[in-house]
């Protein structure tokens, strides 16, 4: 699913990370830890195909099979949850679009507010919608950058459940709080 050999990334002369090796298969869970500014986010962006590595070899699933949730929920705040998910469902060619959107909105407790603008939501609700967006097309590789940061207790419990039942996909999570997902990790990568 993900193979990286001697992966490195530099911005001009500044080294972000160097000689990273990753082997991650379906069902695998890579936990990336490290302090702020250590290169976790850059690595995740490289693994999502959003940034090019400056060295090494990288093998990834094709574009539509990756789900990426960064520090922002990556949803349009002037649109409603239903409009956001409809847009991305169309772009990702999700089958049974309406049914899939409804099931995700219900699962993330957003069905009752499906026609309200996202700008009126709390950060936790926006993050839940971001999770709905990233799971919409059932990605084979799920990449989450500090996913628990903005989530409330209920949202975090839903994410725990999603990560625990990941059999059909590989997961990469970067977090400050490794204890929360330590038990799920099959691979670990620490940045100093």
């Amino acid at each position: 699913m993900v193979r990286a050999r001697n992966l490195s990334k530099r911005f001009d002369t500044r080294r972000i990370f160097d000689k990273v090796d990753i082997d991650l298969d379906v069902g695998g869970f890579l936990l990336v830890t490290g302090p702020n500014g250590s290169g976790k986010t850059t690595l995740l962006r490289v693994l999502a195909g959003l940034a090019a590595p400056t060295g090494g070899e990288l093998e990834l699933p094709v574009r539509g099979e990756i789900g990426y949730l960064g520090h922002e929920p990556l949803v349009y705040k002037q649109l409603t949850p239903h409009e956001n998910l409809t847009l991305f469902a169309r772009l990702y060619r999700v089958p049974d679009r309406e049914q899939r959107i409804r099931s995700l909105l219900e699962r993330f407790a957003l069905w009752d507010v499906r026609d309200k603008e996202v700008a009126t939501f709390s950060r936790g609700m926006q993050q839940r919608l971001g999770l709905g967006r990233v799971l919409l097309h059932e990605p084979k590789l799920l990449i989450l950058d500090e996913p628990f940061n903005a989530l409330d207790t209920a949202g975090a419990a839903l994410l725990d459940e999603e990560l625990a039942t990941r059999s059909a996909r590989a997961v990469v999570v970067a977090t400050h709080d490794p204890e929360r997902v330590e038990g799920l990790a099959t691979e670990r990568l620490g940045f100093a």
């Binding site: 962006r45 999502a48 195909g49 959003l50 090019a52 094709v62 574009r63 539509g64 990756i66 990426y68 960064g70 520090h71 922002e72 990556l74 949803v75 349009y76 705040k77 002037q78 649109l79 409009e83 847009l87 991305f88 169309r90 772009l91 990702y92 060619r93 603008e117 967006r133």
Partner: protein, 212 residues
């Protein structure tokens, strides 16, 4: 067919965003009306119609710059280019959807600006209106591409005008030429500009989006 369906979804999104936010079109309308009013009082009485037409084109280009500067604001502020470029659709659909929305915004601004121009200055020929319509296509195509480039850069507010204004010079030349001279030569020039820059922008957007 899928390509067009993706373009329709993205255009609808941009139109909906403007409908909700009501930021870009009111700003463009206010700007173009203010500019025409200032020009009305600034140019001396008895100046030629060609001079007035030149000012119309200046107003159109700077009004479009105002709209183009805001074109990628939602994507830039909320990091949404990441979500769009990860989708398995052709990346040029993002450019085309945005370009169509920009043409719609420009069209709305001009529906108000052109009658205002006839009120302040002189009447407009059908050829000038056709030149404005052709110019809108080129302006939106080039401006949307430079807008996406600006998203990737650090000094975004500076990059957009620095890239767009030199590329819009042929539009002004063609527009004034079409308005002030007989024959279809300058309309054909604008059509050629549109063809070249639509194709270039369409082909280049994939690379620009990868960096944004």
């Amino acid at each position: 067919m899928r390509y067009l369906s993706d373009v329709a979804a993205l255009t609808r999104k941009d139109l909906l965003l403007e409908l909700r936010a009501k930021e870009t079109i009111p700003a463009m309308l206010l700007f173009v009306l203010s500019a025409l009013t200032i020009f009305h009082f600034a140019i001396p009485r008895g100046s030629s119609d060609v001079a007035a037409l030149g000012l119309l084109w200046v107003a159109i280009v700077f009004t479009s710059l105002l709209g183009l500067t805001r074109a990628f604001v939602p994507e830039r502020e909320q990091g949404l280019m990441d979500a769009l470029v990860l989708a398995p659709c052709d990346r040029s659909t993002i450019w085309l959807g945005k370009t169509i929305a920009v043409i719609a915004f420009l069209g709305i601004a001009e529906v108000v600006a052109l009658p205002a121009f006839t009120l302040f200055f002189s009447g407009l020929t059908l050829k000038t209106v056709a030149a404005v319509a052709l110019a809108d296509i080129g302006i939106a195509a080039v401006g949307t591409l430079t807008g996406a480039m600006a998203v990737a850069g650090r000094a975004r507010e500076l990059i957009q005008p620095l890239l767009f204004l030199p590329l819009s010079i042929p539009v002004i030349v063609g527009g004034i030429g079409a308005s002030a001279t007989a024959g279809p030569k300058f309309l054909l020039f604008l059509a050629l500009y549109d063809t070249v820059f639509v194709l270039l922008s369409w082909a280049a957007f994939d690379f620009v989006a990868a960096e944004a």
